[in-house]
Symmetry: C2
Subunit: 649 residues, 2 copies
């Protein structure tokens, strides 16, 4: 189904952009890089974002902030007016904006292409090896002359009719079989789980009365430090039938992996954390199983991916030594386990398959992302980046993979800022600034008056302020600018994004130099991590041909802005892909095909882990990255030429 | 250590017997086939068993029943006098016993040779394949340059130093390893469980701090319908360190497998029976683990053998269809299971290995007996017989094995008789009769006044009465005999073994014609079972070269008597071996060597099961066997010639 789109032309800039039907004009302007003064976040109360509709029609955009006369002239509030056809929209040049200012408008917003998993593509690429197969059988009833044990009868017919041999039988099947085969007069369906390796044995995990061959399901789960996601997957169609995410109950015991490990070291702490995460897992399982309407008996496997600490906690393995140098995990490969033994509220026959890790800080979530994103199969040199409180970096292609983890701090998630917040309603997520008046244009999530700043908003703000010359390459405000928006408070310079009476919090929302410093350190840690990996393998950042972003962070970040601040290397935005929850995608893929589970063992062997803190070049790279965008501006040639063009004006 | 023995010569019979030091004279007489009137069971109160010590010395045997004059003459009570040197003992011929009566004395008591398992012999025969091996390792401590995961470190050194590869790792090991390897400064012992098949993988099941290689144990258990036995086995020496048996708690829910199955079919019944048997198992485990002083961490496997119903109940598999034609078990091969999952109070790492069965009524206990007795490796045509309420029969050798089960009823365990009892204190276990006076000689277990008759006593009585001509080949008393010992009560003929005032029960203890009938039916079922198996494979009972008796029953039965009643075919008693609890012996053997576990899969394939009720020749064979010893006396040539000799006298 193709989306209806319209062309919006902004005047006097003469800039056009294609937007989906129903988009607001202010969003379209932001996407196109057109500044419109706006300080209420899109709620329609400041009345500053007046635009004139010169051609075409919009819906809404009329409020008491507009006089009837202005309404008649075609003025609308950009934050309220909805695009319903091709438009020409004039931005009123109320201030003395000159030609140079027009040329200084920011780069159009560029978010990453979203890539979703495609089951048919997996099949086409020869990556499909069914992990579970169901076989229907009509068995003869036993007689005195033919009184084979029930399980032997089933196996001998599986052998004769389906050429199945060397089967391992689960005790739970033996427990079920006497009633299962008699319930529908010796018509039964056997569920066979295939070995990952060819030398392995097929495992008979279930037997059901009648023909259930068309009902075969698996569950994929991402066990995040903060959130746990689950998906029910139809193993025949490849479709996701239900999905649900919930906060990891362990949050009450600490925000990050370190505090969780500390808790786990207390007496009973590990057991408690395992119970708590299992409670969340069971809540998610219950929701998605009910939502999809599947029968527990038709579920075969649960594939889970999480970072090394989450994995060890879930498996009740003490993570104590993960947080102590030299950062040794108990294991990186985990045996298949009965899901029920871990505490999951599913049938006896269901296996829990846990993604392997590479090291204490490059966990199964990243390995899953590598498998899900396909980086291990690409020719192109690819950077895979999963940014949260920790950032995990993988660089490589089908021949080699280098990986590292670094602590980015909470800035990308809106943490640690004066007015930082998660990407929730009221968070300023988009920002532009008038190059002459320094008045802002802000859009908040939910189009309400602002409450704070989220991670993607922070990146956009810092990049915009830097490119406009309002902050320097150290992130310090230009002390010479004459505007009430830039002020000192408690001795710290800050930019006022919204005045006290424009916010929801009864105070002004500002961006401080300390916030900017936090961001610089965060992006510096990641960029220098990438640099270090590349240096260690004898390559440079210019060699990167493709970037894959994973994690919540990547979903809305403006790629151009991320390059301006030096978080990402400069690259054609078309070469940046967003895969969403990479961990969940990887778990889903290995639910669907054993080929992934087979490959993963080879892939983790191929993944060379670098402990950045033990890699001598890392500190030098880090210090060099504590600038906007970097000490070495030549690594960002496009930005360099733009900055030089600005200077000439 | 050789036992001290003495020669006892009985006069006037001129019969000599070698007996162990400390034996009573009455026992020596019974063994030698010499009749001495005795009706108090050996308690010394009837005073009938006076004998004269003509040469040598005895201890004891003097009571108030002997006058001082008689004591001076050398008279002693045979039941109280203890052999302490070579003796000549004269039996007083107070009655008119003539020469013919002397010649009619019964055959000497012959019990089966006891064979015990010999670990060294297993090794010599090339049957030793270690099932568990412990490896000690001194690992280097991790450093920033060498921060392998703990388990990877262990495995890589197992590989480098002990050439171990392709290891499966249990989750419980991953849970233990972080603390285990650090507790004794990276000195650890790894426990490896070997695969039964060469293509299998070795399983790393435990890791312990320090060097524990000299402590490696397994447990063998026999899960009987009535009794559960367990043994702790030292896997290095092969020794049994502790043994204990206790009544199966399921007895409260029914005496035999059928009543247990009926109970298991009730709602919650299966779960209840599983809990109850597990409670007994845990009691036995606790006793033997404490008694042997082993550490739970040094225990690797528990091997269990039981009949098919006991096995299914223990594994929580509904045995419903075992008791319904065509008698189909759920399975005959059971996967290795975590002992803890079944409810056993042992470590996470301990596996429960359950002996496979052949059919619903030839269970893992018999298969274990076949493995333990070595019948599957013999050249000789061997009859393996395990007699309890059910009798299981295996006939064959290394080339083929035929097996069947038949219901013998409780007679062999003293059940279903007017004065029947288990082989406990007060049970008449040995019997002789004066051919002229018909006065009995009885010995009870514990040498106390009689309470009843146990299985082995019953066989001896019936055989003796038949050979003396007191009962005929239908088991009916000779109505012409004039003796108060044979009487009619409530219309049924019976023989008075002990008068009212000689017993503990305030009534006479008697043997009735109905009791004899029960025994004839029981032995007939077994003998005809053997006949049928032999007929089906085209052989005859004379072809049997060796008999192996298993089960409590075989321990004390007089072999000659068993041949007289037609329970066993006539064979040189030296060719009869008693192995005790065959099920436990088999469990112990497969605890000690994987070779048995490997062979057993082939052996059960080789074991052809005959459902006797569905085998047409069985009923004919059964009817022919309802005589003493059999319709066809020619099958018992030695007895035939003895009977003919008696007639001539």
């Amino acid at each position: 189904m193709k989306m209806t789109t319209h062309i919006v032309k902004f005047l006097p800039h003469e800039t056009e952009i294609e937007v989906p039907d129903g988009e607001t004009i202010i969003h379209a302007a932001m996407e196109a890089g057109i500044h419109i003064n706006a300080s209420c976040g899109g709620e329609g109360v400041c009345g500053k974002c007046r635009v004139m509709i010169e051609q075409g029609t919009v819906e809404g955009g009329i409020t008491e902030k507009l006089s009837l006369e202005d309404q008649d002239k075609g003025y609308r509030l950009a934050c309220q007016a909805i695009v319903k056809g091709d438009l020409a929209v004039r931005i009123p040049v109320e201030s003395a904006m000159d030609a140079s200012a027009l040329r200084m408008h920011k780069t159009p917003r560029r978010s990453a292409h979203i890539r979703e998993m495609n089951f048919d593509e997996l099949k086409e690429k020869g990556l499909f090896v069914p992990p579970v197969e169901k076989k229907f059988l009509q068995l003869p009833a036993p007689t005195p002359q033919d009184n084979l044990p029930d399980i032997t009868r089933l196996i001998s017919y599986l052998n004769a009719q389906h050429d199945e041999h060397r089967l391992d039988v689960a005790l739970s099947v033996i427990r079920k079989i006497p009633e299962a085969i008699r319930e529908k007069d010796f018509e039964v369906t056997a569920t066979l789980v295939r070995p990952v390796r060819d030398v392995g044995k097929t495992r008979l995990i279930n037997v059901q009365p009648g023909d259930t061959t068309r009902r075969s399901y698996a569950i994929a789960m991402d066990i995040g430090t903060t959130t746990i996601y689950g998906q029910v997957i139809d193993l025949i169609s490849g479709d996701v039938l239900a999905e649900y995410g919930d906060f990891n109950g362990q949050i009450s015991y600490g925000d990050d992996v370190i505090t969780r490990i500390v808790y786990a070291e207390k007496p009973g702490g590990l057991e408690r954390l395992q119970e708590v995460v299992m409670k969340t897992i069971n809540k998610v399982l219950d929701k998605i199983i009910k939502k999809s309407g599947i029968d527990h008996e038709d579920l075969s496997t649960i594939t889970l991916a999480g970072n090394t600490t989450m994995t060890q906690l879930m498996l009740k393995i003490n993570p104590k030594y993960i947080r102590r140098s030299p950062y040794v995990p108990a294991a990186t490969l985990y045996p298949p386990t009965r899901a029920k033994d871990l505490g999951m509220a599913v049938g006896d026959h269901v296996s829990a398959l846990v993604y392997p890790a590479v090291s204490s800080y490059v966990g199964g979530d990243i390995v899953a992302g590598v498998m899900g994103s396909g980086i291990y199969r690409t020719e192109e040199l690819t950077l895979y980046l999963d940014v949260g409180t920790n950032a995990e970096i993988v660089i490589g292609n089908k021949d080699w993979l280098a990986c590292a983890a670094c602590s980015a701090g909470p800035a990308f998630e809106g943490g640690g800022l004066k007015y930082g917040m998660r990407a929730e309603k009221g968070a300023i997520e988009d920002f532009s600034i008038d190059p002459l008046t320094y008045e802002p244009m802000i859009i908040t999530i939910g189009h309400v008056r602002p409450k704070g700043i989220c991670g993607s908003g922070l990146i956009t703000m810092v990049a915009t302020l830097f490119e406009m010359g309002i902050i320097d390459n150290l992130g310090k405000f230009n002390r010479d600018l004459k505007t009430p928006r830039i002020r000192q408070k408690d001795g710290i310079y800050e930019y006022v994004l919204a005045w006290k009476d424009e916010t929801q919090i009864g105070r002004a929302v500002t961006l401080t130099e300390i916030d900017i410093e936090n961001l610089i350190r965060a992006k510096g840690a990641i960029y220098s991590g990438c640099m270090t990996l590349l240096t260690e393998v004898g390559m440079s950042i210019q060699d990167i041909e493709h970037i894959i972003l994973a994690g919540g962070f990547g979903s809305y970040v403006d790629l151009e802005k991320a390059m301006v601040i030096g978080l990402l290397p400069e690259i054609d935005p078309d070469k940046v892909t967003f895969i969403g929850n990479g961990s969940l995608m990887g778990a889903r893929m290995s639910s669907l095909t054993n080929r992934i589970r087979k490959d993963v063992v080879e892939v983790i062997k191929k993944m060379t882990n670098f402990e950045l803190s033990d890699t001598s070049s890392y500190m030098d790279n880090y210090i060099a990255a504590l600038f906007l965008p970097h000490t070495d501006i030549n690594q960002f040639p496009k930005l360099k030429s733009r900055l030089e063009a600005h200077k000439k004006n």
